[in-house]
């Protein structure tokens, strides 16, 4: 891994002239020659979706992360912070190009992003090669902190496997032994399903039916009919966003809600209960966060977020907020000296703090070790019922670190 950097003051002007002439110029800003000093801003490059389906997540993460750093006087390790935002468009073909831009052209000190797992893969590829400290604030692809894990790559969210794993035990405890699985048949859906299976089958549960719906198809009638035909004790699903809204409503409209209880990974009811309405009432899910978590950090965070942005914080905001915390921990440890990168990484690696989601620390693979909460939708709110699993770490299969 290369930590040293080459910088030349005149380079940018040369490129600017030539690049503009050829139309190649990344019309990024061209600041005055970099002054190597502790007072020079820390550059945080943010690659998140600001357009398209995932724009809402990108905004929440960005807002909360900036809120966190603003609470620290807009500094990291005593240095001011400069943000460089880039729209990822949730488009994997552009992931490496955008990452290159932030790392090679803007020379960011920290790289934050993305939401989409495909983009995360492209980003991780470059981040691993260039060695820039990277924090993934959402994308849950297991590989990032699995086979692709790297000392400079951190995650403040979850692996797709994580939220589903605790539910296996929850269902068995309720005596629900025959379960049908239904999920979007793509990376996140399959990994989520695997998480559930890992927590369910070895403990004596049986998967009576597994239904993969082609992503991002939202026509669920066929799947619902299959579920009804299998007549399981319960159904466990992975859907998110618009698909989650539709599935929950369709499930209720098909009359299944009263006969076969519906469980899911927390994204099923995250940020969409308004749209789901009455159909969501009573659905239980597991996630590493709930809006109603009763701890002082959460209350303070939610109040501050609401005051500043006029909107309720959500799980994505928490992940963004903790991204800020993680950067603060690292930068405080080295007093803002990016040259002390190994120390910085070591400090982040050892991070152990009280997050709005509860206790937060990192596994050897740099994925959060965190509580998973069993939640139930009551009056459109995900109320915490219990801690379904305390301090769950991802198995990080294939990671050779630590």
């Amino acid at each position: 891994m290369r930590y040293e950097k080459k910088r030349s003051a005149s380079r940018r002007t040369v490129i600017k002239g030539l690049g503009a002439g050829l139309g190649l110029a990344a019309a990024a800003s061209f600041p005055a020659p970099f002054v190597r000093a502790q007072s020079a801003p820390v550059k945080v490059g943010i690659l998140l979706p600001y357009s398209g389906t995932y724009a809402k997540l990108g905004d929440a993460i960005t807002n909360a992360m900036m809120l966190n750093i603003a609470e620290n006087g807009d500094t990291l390790g005593g240095r001011p912070v400069e943000y460089i935002k880039l729209d990822s468009e949730a488009a994997p073909p552009k992931a490496t190009e955008n990452t290159n831009k932030l790392i090679l052209s803007d020379k960011v000190d920290f790289l934050v992003g993305p939401v989409h797992s495909g983009v995360a893969m492209g980003m991780a590829k470059i981040a691993r090669e260039e060695g820039v400290i990277t924090i993934v604030p959402n994308a849950g692809a297991d590989q990032i902190t699995g086979p692709l894990c790297a000392p400079n790559v951190f995650r403040t969210s979850f692996t797709n496997w994580q939220p589903s794993f605790p539910m296996g035990k929850v269902l068995l405890d309720k005596g629900l032994k025959n379960v049908a699985l239904c999920y979007w048949n793509y990376g996140a859906g399959k990994q989520s399903a695997q998480g559930f299976i890992d927590g369910f089958v070895p403990n004596g549960g049986t998967i009576v039916k597994e239904i993969g719906v082609p992503f991002p198809e939202v026509e669920f009638q066929a799947a619902l009919t299959e579920i009804a035909a299998a007549n399981p004790d319960a159904v466990y699903v992975f859907f998110a966003g618009g698909g989650a809204v539709k599935f929950v409503k369709d499930y209720a409209a098909a009359g299944l809600k009263d006969s076969i209880p519906l469980y899911g990974s927390g994204f099923l009811t995250e940020g969409v209960t308004q749209a789901q309405g009455a159909a969501a009432e009573g659905i239980q899910t597991t996630l590493h966060y709930a809006d109603t978590l009763d701890n002082p950090e959460n209350k303070a965070f939610r109040a501050a977020y609401k005051e500043k942005f006029g909107a309720e914080a959500d799980v994505y905001a928490v992940q963004g907020y903790d991204t800020g915390t993680l950067m603060r921990i690292g930068m405080d440890a080295v007093g803002g000296d990016m040259e002390a990168k190994n120390d910085l990484i070591a400090a982040m690696d050892q991070a152990d703090f009280a997050s709005p989601r509860g206790p937060f620390k990192l596994s050897a693979a740099h994925n959060p070790v965190q509580n998973f909460y069993l939640r139930e939708v009551k009056n459109g709110v995900n109320e915490v019922i219990s801690v379904a699993y305390e301090g769950l770490a991802d198995p990080a299969k294939g990671c050779t670190m630590g």
Partner: protein, 334 residues
Amino acid sequence: MITLPNARTIAVLLLVLAALASVPFLGDSFYLKLATRVIVLAIFAMSLELLIGYTGLVSFGHAAYFGLAAYGLQLLSPEYDAANLLVALPASMALAALVALAVGALVVRTRGIYFIMVTLAFAQMLFYLVRDSAWFGGSDGAFIYVKPVLRIGETVLFSLDDRTGFYFFCLCCLVFTYVLLVVILRSPFGQVIMGIKENEHRMQALGYNTYRYKLASFVIAGTFAGLAGFLFAAIDGFVSPELLGWHQSGNAILMILLGGSGTLFGSLFGAIAFVGMEDIFKERAIFGPLADHWQILMGVFVIAAVLLLRRGIAGWLVTWTGRRSPSLQERDDA
């Protein structure tokens, strides 16, 4: 019919080529990678231009062949070792060509709007197959850990891991593609496909089995799209199913629009403009808060370009350099 570009146009092209060739000497790895990407996209657009500009087939699924060859490299790369360029490159292009042959055999029987939709639909089918089937590494994409090398026997002559070397390799591929396509267009075969674009019915009456020529053109275009896809995968060593998606096909068409349909070299300008354009629209210093909604700017620009910039950058260049090449046909006549 195709004529060689006139002296002034050639001079401009050589200047651009020289400018491109000088990029590695700036010593900036970001711009080097960006320029590599532009060149690879230019090859992609140029391959599509053979269909759109010279055979009259508006394919809206060209990314399928681009993406398949990209996956070809991924599949042929051992996890801890480099693939041999001499094997992986021809094999990936052959994969693209074979699939183009199978799809083409069905789709070139259709025309016009029908052709557009059918090519799109087949590309989507391939997209879903790559994304959902177990062979291709899943919906999140896959890595090529070690870049391919040119190896004869045990001797490694050249590795694509060398960014400068790779850049010149791509530049050579671009020049090679351009020259080869010009040669093809000037050949009897080239005359036939241009005749088909101009008036397919008459070509049939003259005794040409136009189906076979259109199919051949479709396969050649798919093969060169495969070349571009292979190189694209080698830039950063990352492939994703979206490389086959319809947005990617749309981008290639957009490059042709910007560059100007009717000249092969327009594709290069189209690729440059395409890559530059987005960055400009995303620039807050120019567009202020509108930059946050850069897709609106992009949309307005595309619409304006269609309505006003009829012949693209290349058309403008050809006019500027004097004599208009007869190969530039007014779209109205189509």
